[in-house]
């Protein structure tokens, strides 16, 4: 007995050893390193100088740090709830038993897979104020579109609009959730005379709250890590109106070579994300509804 489990112990560790090594080398070690770095003036070309908590003090007095936090927060508040709403609407439309919904699912989901530089470049052209697609569509409705990415007011909303285009992942999670809802609930509610609005608020939304919870957590974490769009499309401008947190971190670390300061920024971000996630988790007991009877759908293959 003992020998068997001893063997299994060793074999088990052998199997997971790549991850253990990777965790030590590429996560734990750099995290400790980064924590230490944040207490130094660390320029990769000179020698590091111990400065204690100076980086953190500088940070709290740095208007650009607050600006980047503000930009990222506004983006998060704008894009996450709107994104969830859009994703839920799409999922509900796709959940209806209609001919050809597979094709629509493909089309709705496609944009979320192609994020990155190429799509940022395309949106840059779409938001071109003179010859872009967006202002052409608006002109069809008699609206004279703004300068979008050249405007301090409209650059951030433009990025939020762009983010709504890529809500496919949340949509799929909602769709899976919807497909797992028991049909009997709706039949009973309908016989009781509940209208579709009531059915949505009293049945769909509570039963879907676990999916909502998952999408909310992923959405918040994702929005705080926005980088590529900002780097490619605006470089944080005009006038820092799209200076996302990670972009500011990147600039400090790799353009101004203030590696210690950038590490302090990274730890503050980590703290913020941790706090937000905990907040959502803590609050979830109030608004997330788990029912043991609701079966999670099998993944169809």
């Amino acid at each position: 007995m003992f020998r068997v489990s001893q063997r299994e112990n060793i074999v088990g560790f052998l199997f997971i050893s790549p991850w253990i090594l990777g965790f030590l080398l590429f996560t734990l070690f750099p995290m400790i390193y980064s924590f230490v770095l944040a207490f130094y003036d660390w320029n990769p070309f000179g020698s590091p100088v111990w400065t204690g908590v100076k980086n953190y003090i500088t940070l709290f007095n740095d208007p650009l740090f607050w600006q980047s936090l503000k930009v990222t927060t506004i983006y998060s508040i704008g894009s996450v709830p709107l994104g969830l709403l859009v994703a839920l609407l799409f999922a509900m439309l796709l959940n209806r038993e209609l001919v050809g919904r597979g094709i629509f699912r493909t089309i709705f989901y496609m944009p979320s897979l192609v994020s990155g530089v190429a799509i940022s470049v395309v949106w840059l052209w779409i938001f071109n104020s003179e010859f872009g697609l967006m202002n052409w569509i608006l002109s069809k409705f008699g609206i004279k579109g703004p300068q979008w990415l050249m405007s301090t007011t409209w650059a951030l909303p433009a990025l939020i609009i762009m983010s709504l285009w890529g809500t496919g992942n949340s949509m799929l999670i909602f769709l899976a959730g919807l497909q797992g809802l028991p049909k009997e609930f709706y039949e009973v509610a309908e016989l009781d005379g509940a209208n579709s609005f009531q059915r949505f608020w009293k049945i769909t939304l509570p039963l879907l709250s676990p999916s909502l919870f998952f999408n909310l957590v992923m959405g918040v974490i994702g929005s705080f890590q926005t980088f590529t769009q900002a780097y490619v499309m605006t470089q944080g401008g005009p006038l820092y109106s799209t200076l996302f947190y990670i972009l500011y971190l990147y600039k400090n670390g790799f353009q101004y070579f203030k590696m210690g300061y950038a590490s302090a920024l990274a730890w503050v971000l980590f703290g913020i994300i941790l706090a937000l996630t905990l907040l959502i988790f803590k609050s979830s007991s109030i608004w997330v509804y788990y029912e043991a009877e609701v079966k999670t759908p099998e993944v169809k293959r």
Partner: protein, 294 residues
């Protein structure tokens, strides 16, 4: 009694009639919404392709023409040769293939360990693995850069490839969830036949988890192909640029050549779109699987 029955029957009929009428109206309304949203989703792609086939001057015609006259396929040749795009594609392919191999092999080994073997501290280690998914990638960015710089890995593909061989927490999690659904009877049968753990993994489990292996291969492809920050930080020489870096270079060097920029974007997106259409169901299955962990 009869009257009561009549009332209920007629009310049910009325109810059903109204319902089917309402359903029809609802269906039509849904189709209108689905089609308009569908168009909105496709427009950026169509706009990109349309612009990529226009001449330099036609791009700046307002209101825009959707079907360019004449269609300039030559833009694609120009986009490929203005900057060495062929070279960038080759680099991206090389990195992507090596990353996929690394992530798929290492993640499935680790996932098997977590799903099927008993060892000390397994639960704690798995909790640590899950929590590492929450750590922003950016916390480790700067120390890793400094470390890789010290060991001379800057301006090589090594920082982009080697970490992939140590498992990816998200993939490990997905695979482990899937392996847990395979009945233990398979393992017992294999053990009775004298299979060791590695044979059990290789001969029994791997064939059974093929669908998820395909899913993670695709995710791995898409994320590596589209990765921007990694190459941006570690690669300096244009010789070693990936497609994403090349596109960014293009954007800053030829920012107003929209027709060429759109052609270059189309080239960069093409592999992702092709893979998406071929393997859509695996991608969707994977996303759904990841959302069902609660």
């Amino acid at each position: 009694m009869i009257i009561v029955q009549d009332i209920t029957e007629s009310s049910i009929n009325k109810f059903l009639g109204r319902k089917s009428m309402r359903k029809l109206v609802g269906d039509i309304f849904c189709y209108i919404l689905l089609i308009s949203i569908g168009i909105a989703m496709l427009l950026p792609f169509l706009w990109m392709i349309s612009s990529s086939l226009k001449s330099r001057g036609d791009v700046f015609i307002f209101p825009p023409e959707w079907i360019p006259k004449p269609i300039r396929w030559h833009n694609y040749v120009e986009a490929m040769t203005t900057v060495p795009f062929g070279r960038f594609i080759k680099n991206s392919i090389q990195i992507t293939i090596l990353v996929i191999i690394g992530q798929v092999v290492s993640s499935s080994l680790v996932a098997f360990g977590f799903a099927r073997l008993r060892f000390i501290g397994k639960n704690i280690l798995f909790m640590i693995l899950l929590s590492t998914m929450m750590i922003p990638y950016h916390v480790t960015l700067i120390p890793l850069f400094i470390t890789f710089r010290k060991i001379g890995w800057i301006n090589t593909f090594k920082p982009l490839i080697i970490p992939a061989y140590f498992g990816s927490p998200f993939f490990i999690f997905l695979l482990r969830q899937y392996i847990m659904t395979i009945p233990l009877a398979f393992d017992d049968a294999a053990k009775i036949d004298g299979c060791g753990y590695f044979q059990l993994f290789y001969k029994i489990i791997v064939p059974l988890i093929k669908p998820v292996l395909i899913t993670i291969t695709i995710f791995s492809f898409l994320w590596t192909w589209n990765d921007f920050m990694g190459p941006l930080i570690y690669i300096n020489d244009m010789e070693k640029f990936t497609v994403t870096l090349g596109l960014n270079l293009f954007r800053y060097s030829y920012g107003t050549e929209w027709h060429l920029l759109m052609a270059a974007s189309t080239i960069a997106l093409l592999p992702c779109l092709v893979i998406f259409f071929i393997a859509q169901r695996y991608i969707i299955g994977g996303i759904v699987l990841s959302g069902l962990k609660q």
